[in-house]
Amino acid sequence: MVTREGFESVVDFAFSGSGFAAEAAKHAFPSQMFLPGSDLSAIEENIEKLVHGLVHWEPSKAQEPLVAPHPITVEGEDYHDAVDKLNALFLRNLWSDGLPIVPPTEKRVNWLLTGTEFPRDKIIGAILPRGGLATVSTVATAAAMAGCRPEYMPILIAAMQAILDPISYHQHMQATTGSPSPAVIVNGPIAKQVRLNSGYGCLGPNALYPAGASIGRAIRFLLVNVGGAIPGVGSMSIHGGPARYAGLVFAEDEEGLPSNWLPLNVERGFRQGADTVTVLPTSGSTMIWEGAPLNEREALFTLFDFAANMSVPYGAYYAAGFNPHGAPGIALIGRAAAQGFAKLGWSQDAIKTYLWEHSKLPDSPWLRKTLEHFSRRGLFVKDHIGYPMPIAVAPRNIMLVVAGGQQSGHSYWLRGHGGTYGPCTKEIVLPSNWIELLSKAEEELGPIAVL
């Protein structure tokens, strides 16, 4: 492996994810050697090291078929001291996110496992690059750390199934220098039942609808602790992004959908009323100032504003948006805006078509050069390029979701991250004690708020 300084651990993790010990025959050159016009003399000076990797290198780590992690024990003067020490240990081990974690005791993990009937040792998948196995028990451990409740487990498990589905190509999201985080959109009655936000502040914290924050945090714990996406070690994300703290887990506002509009999961082939999660890695978010289609003029102004924000020379569009299964991003509009559009005769398809047409990138020498570069990497076929260049293969690739506060005013664009194959939707499996779990939640958290 020819790599650059600072990326050695990424290479080692890549081998780990393929079932090898976390090491590889490699040589790391200075990063500046890989820049245009650079001095390449370091290659000749270090050629013997490459020869060593081909002829003499031996792995130093022993071969073990299955490495099971040991439980962690801390001693404290009292409970609070023990929890403080545990948090410090988790930070030292790079298992935390800088915020306090809830101790994942056997008792707490067992409590969370009441939220699923999948066997605790069921393997959901290997999380790359490290290749750690996400079992139901491991998922419950992350859920414990994040402060989840048992009734969140069905959503969390389905979200991990979607993230680990081959169509998500999660290994790119994990290791890339970009800043993707999985957006998790929930449909179905489960959203309201578990207090997952589809309304005001749905992308941020809300004590009335706390499920999203801890589910999102649990996902990040799994991606880092099991999958190895440690910043600067397994994940080379240059900026990370604020969504990596508590994720982007929210529900579609199905009650707010116009009567002739379909929920996202029904658009994607699931039955009306099904509990599902849809996951798409996103690496940017932009508030759209407009979102108040009270008349046709304002509707067009809203869509113009939206399209203008979508129409930027963003590498991910051409890197993966031209994949027929890909999505350039998720357009969020509140229920008042959705109903305003519908009253004016705008269908979901008509909105997507308008956005697709008006977000095309104009022809320019810069754009042609960039696309030439991506073509050479085989990321899309040059013959498919037309100018002005659309940001996706077709209008249908744009995801349009109704979510947010009930009044009209603003909208939101969650830009998809390139390198993935596309959004993935999974059906949520509920345990037979579901009603009992919800009753217990109501007992402890009070009735579900209605705003």
């Binding site: 990063s31 005791t105 290749g131 451990t141």
Partner: protein, 126 residues
């Protein structure tokens, strides 16, 4: 619009949450806290390929992710190796698919083997 507020007194609400949801009961005196390891099992079933015994007379393939000046770096590596091992055959990366996702395929391994490659240099810079 209005909000239906929970009308439980604050104290009883907190107690209820503690029992079912929040911290372990407070204990005085030393505490041993045992928790699950969050890292999960890892399967290590693969062994690295044996190294070549020499380079002269062998065939090496190149695979590239297509970025970071691969068109400059790989030829220099090739030239440096050929200078030292005149009988080493190197199949350039341009003979194979290019790109991170493109080279991460079983079919690429097949092509390497069919081309007679006995080792591979993979790049570039990532």
């Amino acid at each position: 619009m209005s909000a239906e507020r929970r009308d439980l007194p604050l104290e009883s609400k907190v107690v209820g949450m503690m029992n079912g949801f929040a911290s372990e009961p407070e204990k005085n005196g030393p505490v041993t806290l045992q928790v699950k390891n969050p890292t999960g099992m890892v399967s290590k079933s693969q062994t690295h390929a044996k190294r070549l015994d020499a380079l002269n007379g062998k065939t090496i393939g190149e695979l590239s992710n297509g970025i970071w000046e691969d068109r400059r770096t790989f030829p220099v590596i090739r030239e440096a190796l050929r200078k030292r091992f005149p009988d080493l055959r190197i199949i350039p990366f341009t003979a194979f698919p290019i790109g991170s996702e493109q080279i991460d395929q079983e079919s690429v391994i097949e092509r390497l083997l069919q081309s007679g490659c006995q080792a591979v240099i993979v790049g570039n810079a990532a």
